[in-house]
């Protein structure tokens, strides 16, 4: 056992001494390799954490949303519909929701105005509760600064800021402006008997299909969105294409594969001669292959470790700073959110396999012939 370990270490010594002869080139190779792993691992960790966050947080979303559709577009729904839905058997509660968008010309940001469902959270008249990004977008981040909103030129509405929502929930609340129902209707100049849509609470989630079937008869023009559909949207959010990141990473992987294949498989005459020398001075085919295995493993495992550790730091300690611009796009408001650190063993193993196995194979395959050639070749 000890002898075996010593043999392995001696072979690794040789590999490293041989690699260090072209240290600049090999360092560049490891850096590029680590960078590719870093990008892919960052994308994996980031999207997995985002999916998990969405999954947990949106568990509290309304079970069923009923919207009125006109010409394929979402329209305000009448209060009558609330009254129609409430008596359906299995419906615990049907309540009109009020929410809408406001484009703030002064900052160029889109806010989401909403009337909270929970009476405990409803602000008083002339007051608003705002998300953490709203003062940021307006450049007014001192405490107690009121919120002035202009709907058209010459118009100014003032809200006192009752509270700024904690940055801990920024991912769901960054762009919110919460106010009471009267202020909301007043601000958007809508009548008292319409709602944006209706949130329905259901006693037994398994009855949701039956309830929708009954509700469809009562409200033939409505659209029904279940919480399952909402969470499915978010489960698929990043796994569909994993977006531009993975597309970019894909190109990088391809470029690296070409580079690595060229580097690893192009067995130079010099290298073939060295393998001949090693065989001639008493190395076995197995020794040569074990030596090359060390080379492939040290480079690829090293790159994997460097890449994933950096990716972890990037996603969970630096808030995925490199991905923010990609997700942000044209948005003026972008939440300063943190993600719950989470390492998915299966995902990481997959990444490990796709990093290490191809590279080790690419280093081994070309030397196979040289390693099994007769040792006396070197003398001829």
């Amino acid at each position: 056992m000890k002898r075996m370990l010593r043999r392995q270490r001696a072979l690794a010594d040789y590999t490293l001494a041989a690699l260090s002869r072209r240290w600049g080139k090999n360092l560049a190779l490891i850096s590029v390799f680590s960078l590719v792993v870093f990008v892919v691992a960052s994308a994996m960790l980031f999207s997995a954490a985002l999916k998990r966050e969405a999954d947990v947080v949106l568990q509290s979303a309304p079970e069923l949303i009923v919207q009125r559709m006109v010409m394929g577009r979402h329209e305000m729904i009448e209060a009558d519909a609330v009254a129609a839905l409430a008596p359906i058997r299995g419906v615990m509660r049907a309540k009109g929701r009020l929410w809408g968008y406001f484009y703030d010309a002064s900052s160029g940001a889109n806010y989401t105005f909403m009337v909270p469902d929970d009476p405990a959270l409803v602000p008083g008249p002339g007051e608003a509760i705002i998300g953490e990004a709203v003062p940021r977008a307006r450049g007014l981040d001192w405490a107690g600064a009121p919120l002035f909103l202009s709907r058209r030129s010459g118009d100014l509405v003032k809200f006192a800021v009752a509270k700024v929502l904690s940055a801990d929930s920024a991912l769901v609340s960054a762009d919110l402006v919460l106010m009471n129902e009267a202020d909301f209707r007043d601000f958007f100049e809508i009548g008292p008997d319409v709602f944006t849509d209706i949130a329905v609470t259901i006693r037994n989630p398994r009855e949701i299909g039956t309830i929708i079937a009954k509700a469809e008869k009562l409200l033939p023009a409505a659209r029904f969105i279940t919480r399952d559909e909402i969470s499915r949207t978010y489960q698929k959010l990043f796994s569909w294409r994993e977006g531009l990141l993975v597309a970019l990473a894909g190109a990088a992987i391809l470029a690296f594969a070409i580079f690595a294949a060229e580097k690893a498989s192009g067995l130079s005459a010099e290298e073939a001669r060295e393998i001949g020398v090693l065989k001639a001075i008493g190395w076995d085919t197995r020794d040569v292959i074990a030596m090359k295995l060390w080379e492939g493993a040290l480079v690829s495992v090293g790159a994997f470790l460097i890449g994933t550790v950096l990716a972890y730091g990037h996603v969970f300690l630096l808030g995925a700073a490199l991905f923010a611009p990609v997700l942000k796009g044209w948005s003026v408001i972008y939440p300063e959110f943190q993600l719950a650190p989470h390492i998915d063993g299966l995902q990481l193993s997959t990444l490990f396999l796709i990093t290490v196995v191809p590279y080790v194979a690419a280093t081994l395959v070309p030397i196979w012939r040289a390693a099994s050639a007769d040792p006396d070749r070197i003398m001829r």
Binding site: K2, R3, M4, L5, R6, R7, R9, A10, L11, D13, Y14, A17, A18, R21, E270, R273, E274, G276, V277, L278, A280, I281, G282, W283, D284, T285, R286, D287, D374, P375, D376, I378, M379, R380
Partner: protein, 226 residues
Amino acid sequence: MIELQSVTKLYNEGRPNEVRALGPVDLTIERDAVTVFKGPSGSGKTTLLSIVGCMARPTEGRVILDGKMVSGLPESFLTEQRRSTFGFVFQRFNLIRGLSVIENVMLPSAPLGEPFAAVQARAADRLARLGLGDKARTPVEYLSGGETQRVAIARALINDAPVLIADEPTANLDTVLTHRFLDSVAELRAEGRTVIITSHDPRIWDADLVNAVVEMQDGQIAGVFA
């Protein structure tokens, strides 16, 4: 004692460019002696040397090493046999460029799994005895021809091989270095090692310490002189 019985070696066997490089030859090489294979290039002496040194397997015939038939052994056993019996000094020395002198000397012991410190001490000792103690850390490409050869000898002896095989060792050396090489051979001989050399250099085969000269011509043994 190494015995060859009607050994032949064909290269590119069965193909149009098939070459009979050797044989059939019968030969006995004594232990504790210095044997020289002489002959012009292409006479088959290097082929003979690689078969004697278990580097290549004969196409036909038998190789018997200390009473053991080695010509039929599978590769891994043959490698093991070779490792424990022979040390090689190649014509172009074949040191690994970019590695230091001592790293090169220690290379043959890498697959053996001996303690690193022991191997290192042994290598340093070999180098010191060959007058290269201060060059241990020098990359081999900065050595002179004579130094390179002595490094190759140190490498050949790192595993304490009882038989040293040298292929045209003096082809690139001047008279002074050739004499120094012969001194090294005399020392090895005194240590009780067997030395087998191929050469077309008269300075070698005329040397007093040579016990036997095998003359090669066209893949055949033209004569053995003791």
